[in-house]
């Protein structure tokens, strides 16, 4: 690790003041950042510890939920309201990492975790445009089994590894931000950027901006939701493909559907094409499969990850089928 100073922020304003200095980074649970510090991929000169900021989960009268960004992943998954009203979120969090890591990781930190691309992690021995812009990408023609099939670019094919974010994307979550220029809100789906020619720019956050809270709107009454993760071990492995889905079906018709994919794209992938194809249509296996086909029509597989295209289609179809109560 490169030497850094360490300060605990007393509140968000304090944090933003401390974080405004160049070279400062916010530290949540540390489960990703400490690893990246050790690998010298992150080299901040100052760490501002924001893990002591509000970790409350507020159930509001409109049925929405306001989650303090310092809330630990485990606490969020365990919260009664999340388990009852947003099972997709509880399931996504519980499918991620290990119990120990979920006890440490914060909601804000989880959103900002960085890719598991092996070439990104190999600071000394591999080229990576995300780590060192303009250097080139060794993943394009290398081991890319875990890499993106949607939304990638010629400069970067890395995936965003979060499970929680996939659920947040499907839940239309809004992220509350506070920065030197004040506070603002952003849809989670607008927070992460696609790589394009600047894979080093991963989010829409301004310098010094801090995630203070995540807001979940109420789900339509009658909507059901779940999360399915497909991975190489039975537990404790990153997703090859994951699907977060919210479905409200009535008399065999899709009233509302929200679908997001993990493990297939540089960001939590909201499957809007599939949603548009389904909304108002029949809640049948055939329709689900057709919607999955439309979402994956643009898939651009690499050397090792072609299987993800069919795996994503099958998983989408099965998850929606489960929620609709129609068997494949």
């Amino acid at each position: 690790m490169t030497p850094f100073s360490y300060t605990r922020a007393g509140d968000a304003a304090d944090a933003v003041r401390l974080g405004a200095f160049g070279g400062a980074k916010y530290l949540g649970g540390g489960t990703n950042l400490v690893d990246l510090l050790r690998e010298t991929i992150e080299r901040p000169s100052a760490l501002v510890d924001v893990a002591g900021l509000p970790a409350t989960i507020e159930e509001r009268e409109d049925g929405s939920l306001l989650i303090g960004a310092a809330t630990r992943n485990a606490a969020l998954a365990e919260h009664r309201a999340v388990r009852s009203h947003y099972p997709v979120l509880a399931r996504a969090i519980l499918a991620g990492a290990s119990a120990q890591i979920r006890n440490m990781a914060t909601v804000g930190g989880n959103i900002l975790q960085r890719t598991r691309c092996a070439y990104f992690y190999d600071d000394e021995g591999s080229r990576c445009n995300k780590r060192s812009p303009g250097q080139g990408c060794d993943a394009l023609d290398g081991f890319n089994r875990i890499h993106a099939i949607l939304g990638a670019s010629a400069d970067c094919v890395a995936t965003h590894p979060s499970d929680m974010c996939v659920a947040l994307a499907a839940l239309d979550a809004t992220v509350h931000l506070q920065g030197p220029a004040g506070t603002r809100r952003l849809k989670l789906t607008g927070l992460h950027r696609l790589p394009g020619t600047r894979p080093d720019l991963e989010t829409a956050l301004e310098p010094g901006e801090l995630i203070t809270a995540v807001e979940l709107p109420a789900l339509p009454a009658g909507a059901r939701s779940t999360y399915r993760k497909v991975r190489d071990r039975a537990s404790y492995a990153f997703a090859l493909v994951s699907v977060a889905a919210v479905l409200e079906a009535d008399s065999g018709t899709v009233r509302e559907v929200r679908l997001a994919l993990g493990g297939v794209a540089p960001k939590p992938w909201r499957a809007r094409k599939a949603e548009d194809a389904l909304r108002g249509g029949p809640a049948t296996v055939q329709a689900f499969r057709a919607a999955a086909e439309s979402e994956l029509a643009d898939a651009a597989p690499l050397r090792d990850n072609g299987f993800k295209v069919e795996l994503a289609k099958r998983t989408i179809t099965a998850v929606l089928g489960d929620l609709a109560g129609v068997a494949a």
């Binding site: 690790m1 490169t2 092996a118 000394e124 081991f143 497909v230 404790y236 795996l311 099958r314 494949a328």
Partner: protein
Amino acid sequence: MSILDNAKAAAQGAAQAVMKKAVELAPDAWVPGGKPDPLIRSKHGLIGAPISRIDGPLKVQGRAKFAAEFPLDGMVYAAVAFSTVPKGRIATLDTGAAEAAAGVVLVMTHRNAPRMNNMPLFMTAEKAAGGDNLPILQDDRIHWNGQPIAVVLAESQEQADHAKSLIGVTYAQEPAVTTLAGARAQGADIGMFQGQPLKTTVGDAEAALAAAPVAIDATYTTPRHNHNAIEPHAATIAWHGDELIVQDAAQAVSHMAWSLASVFGLDERQVRVTSPYVGGGFGAKTLWQHQVLGAAAARLAGRPVRIALSREGVFRIVGGRTLTEQRVAIGAEADGRFTSIIHTGTIVMTRHNAMPEPFILPTRGAYAADSFKLEVEAVYMDMLANTFMRAPGEAVGTFALECAVDELAARLGMDPIELRIRNEPAKDPIEGLPFSSRHIVEAWRAGAARFGWARRNPAPGAVRDGAWRVGMGCATATYPYYRMPGGAARMKLTKDGSVRVEVAAHEMGMGTATAQTQVAAERLGLSMAQVSFGYGDSIMPGVVLAGGSQQTASIGASVMAAHHALTVELLKLAGNDSPLAGLGADEVEGLDGGLAKRGEPDRHESYVSILARARRDALVVEAAAPPPLETQHWSMHSHGAMFCEARVNAMTGETRISRFLGSFDCGRILNPKTAASQFRGGIIMGLGLALMEETQFDERKGRVMNPSLAEYHIPVHMDVPEIDVIWTDIPDPHAPMGAHGIGEIGITGTGAAVANAVFNATGKRVRDLPLTLDKLM
């Protein structure tokens, strides 16, 4: 190896052949094991008792000290920088910033490292332990991607790690061979293993295959693997003048002391390597460059050094199992009798190691056949030296062989167990030697009954349970009984009647300390509490590798020899006034804290009494085990029958192992509690091999891309079902205690049992490990 080395090996081989024939033909009684160990007869004592580990209380309280847990006064911490190119020279090397960084004591590179000899390469001398024989920081040459190029010593690990990141280096790269295709293009050699070519021909197997009414001919591939013991390699190293003390994580302390002495030009007695606890070895905890680097840096800095490799560091400089590409072809008569077995293929190794993954070894003894063609071809890459990993040869060789047998059974329409039993050999199919002990058919029958094999639907893809396809598969497990030369033991009897046994052996979790205390206590007629077993220190007697599943036999034979010497001395001391007067060592046994005439327990004198009468405080003896000629007189192997039930998700291809049974025939089981754990441990590593393990070697740069426990997957709790293990418990009359080492057999056959179960579940035959879901969708 050079041509000269090959010639030497061949000459050695010829001399060995003459000797080997003589040993084969010698009367049983002349050969170690010819007279069964008397302990085989003891049925109700400590041997076979399910005794909990004697180091258990220390381990569950975190009080067992591992190699990186010995603090020394003035100790500094090491960090190692690794090359990022596979071949060439260091063009520029800037250590200024690192040297100026806070806390830095030393930056050692090829410019200032002390002159040292290369490590003696494992298996090229009795006590050679080096993973490679390359120069270590002696010049600017790079031999593999990941080679150490600098060591930083600093007052804290954080300071050392940071300073390491400040080293600037550029390379003048040279063309490197880092692809399998490129390696093949350079030509292949027949692999040389333990001085013998890995090539066996009996009859004309190709012609027999062509003529066979039923045959299978297929290619199987297995990837690189890493041991990934949870304890990373580490050593705490101090010089006292010209004496070198190394607290190491080691499975070969005597070998390492000798080898380190050789590197530093010291006498073997000037180096002491201790290793009381080892956090898993599996073949990896031998001598690699880090111990040499740590010792060199400690000498240069004049400070004790802790060198604890990062997980990435282990992947960069400690070799793993290499990849294999294997052809297995079996020709059979319509009744299933094998007429031809062909097992050939290619492995990758380097010019600086001696480990051509010998995947044909299991095929040499598994089945009878009219003809054999077995051959391992080695091709060479510029890469980190590959090495021994749990059941080297057998782990991946049985995958190919036992999948092929399953495929043949399907073609024949025969039950795969019956096909195996039909081809059960009466004697060693290659060597012609009698088996010392082979009860594999019993293991198959008992296993099949317990597993419910009769309930298997032989039609592939026929059984479904909801989203899951369900199948059963089986495979033969096999591993040789080895006993290497050099075993020796010391016994010290003190006047209170207690005995200390010392052997330079190892406890990496196999249960050695516990089982050997049981054995020694039983042999001596003492309680467990009266016996202490010392190990893990190179100043103790014996050259005892914890490898090849040979440690149990090696210690057993050594302790037998020492016990015999002790008995001889005790009888001398007892003299004519003892009830034992006139008896020879072979006529007495340890009983109730003393010696008694065999069959006449009342003719007894206690150790306390003998020593008291002789006015002795203690009696110390040391003896060497006889050379392991039994392994050339009999064909000695452990056996097992593996049964797997796999569930494959019809949608995603995810595989879950729902049941597994290992039915073993490995001689007498010394401690069923620790033995069951060893069997299960091997099987679980086999599940990893089957389902998920792969070291990702990027052929463009010869670089390992998943040097991490997050990205190199090993099984987690959720992947591991309850694993049932049973055994015949039939003693091998020609092995000490009637026992075989059992550390490796569990990983053999497991990969094939899984693949065969997956085939039965899905109808998909995957011949390329690991069986990830993309291959089964």
